[in-house]
């Protein structure tokens, strides 16, 4: 039975999708408290607002307000633990495609507003 040290092996680890494309880091872990049974990891969270929470609730609120001016409309991305395929010493692999998630909001915006237009221009 594989054992995990949550702070060393999961938190702050690089997250990649099924094609090993980088999509952020584990900024938070959600634990589900089940009363008479041991807690379980419910989900991992990614996002700069999640990271800000560790510095304090005021920093989290301030960055949440700033995020409204950002391209990325999702402050925090939550991925269910069931999506974790593999945990390696240097990365955690998820069963999804990064391009379809909020993690790639900037990339999609650049693709739609710059790359697509540049490719459409007649040469």
């Amino acid at each position: 039975m594989k054992k995990l040290d949550l702070a060393r092996d999961v938190l702050d680890k690089q997250v990649v999708d099924r094609d090993e494309t980088k999509m952020g880091r584990v900024d938070g872990l959600i634990l589900e408290l089940r009363g008479d049974r041991p807690p379980r990891i419910d989900a991992i969270e990614m996002g700069f607002v999640v990271l800000a929470r560790r510095m304090g609730p005021r920093v989290e609120r301030w960055l949440e307000k700033l995020r409204r001016f950002s391209i990325r409309k999702t402050a925090r991305q939550r991925v269910a633990w069931e999506k974790v395929i593999e945990i390696k010493p240097y990365q955690i692999q998820l069963d999804l495609k990064a391009i379809d998630t909020p993690a790639f909001a900037w990339e999609r915006w650049l693709r739609d507003h710059f790359v697509a237009k540049a490719e459409a221009k007649p040469k």
Binding site: L4, L11, L29, I30, L33, P38, R53, R54
Partner: protein, 95 residues
């Protein structure tokens, strides 16, 4: 009925106190076991030994204080509470 959920990263660095208010150490990590598709938390690691263990350093005199999941109340991540006395926990560590 949804079960309560907490953020594990908010637990890190918080002092765990017993019902009498005696501090037993700060939470620096937790150990979980993979059971199928689930990762189940089995124990929490407290104290300087736990912090060193995060960096792969171990000293015989500074071992982490291991608190089983059923002996700690983490419903309030800002104030985690031991369900037994500090003396009882120390007795368990020795045995």
């Amino acid at each position: 009925m949804s079960t309560p959920k907490i953020h594990f990263e908010l637990l890190l660095g918080k002092v765990v106190r017993d019902p009498q208010g005696v501090g037993v150490g700060r939470i620096f990590s937790a150990h979980a076991e993979i059971e199928g598709a689930d990762a189940v938390v089995r124990e929490f690691l407290l104290g300087p030994g736990a912090l060193l263990a995060r960096f792969g350093i171990s000293f015989p005199r500074w071992k982490p204080v291991r608190v089983p999941w059923d002996l700690i109340d983490i419903a309030d991540p800002e104030h985690p509470r031991l369900r037994c006395s500090a003396a009882e926990l120390a007795g368990r560590q020795r045995s």
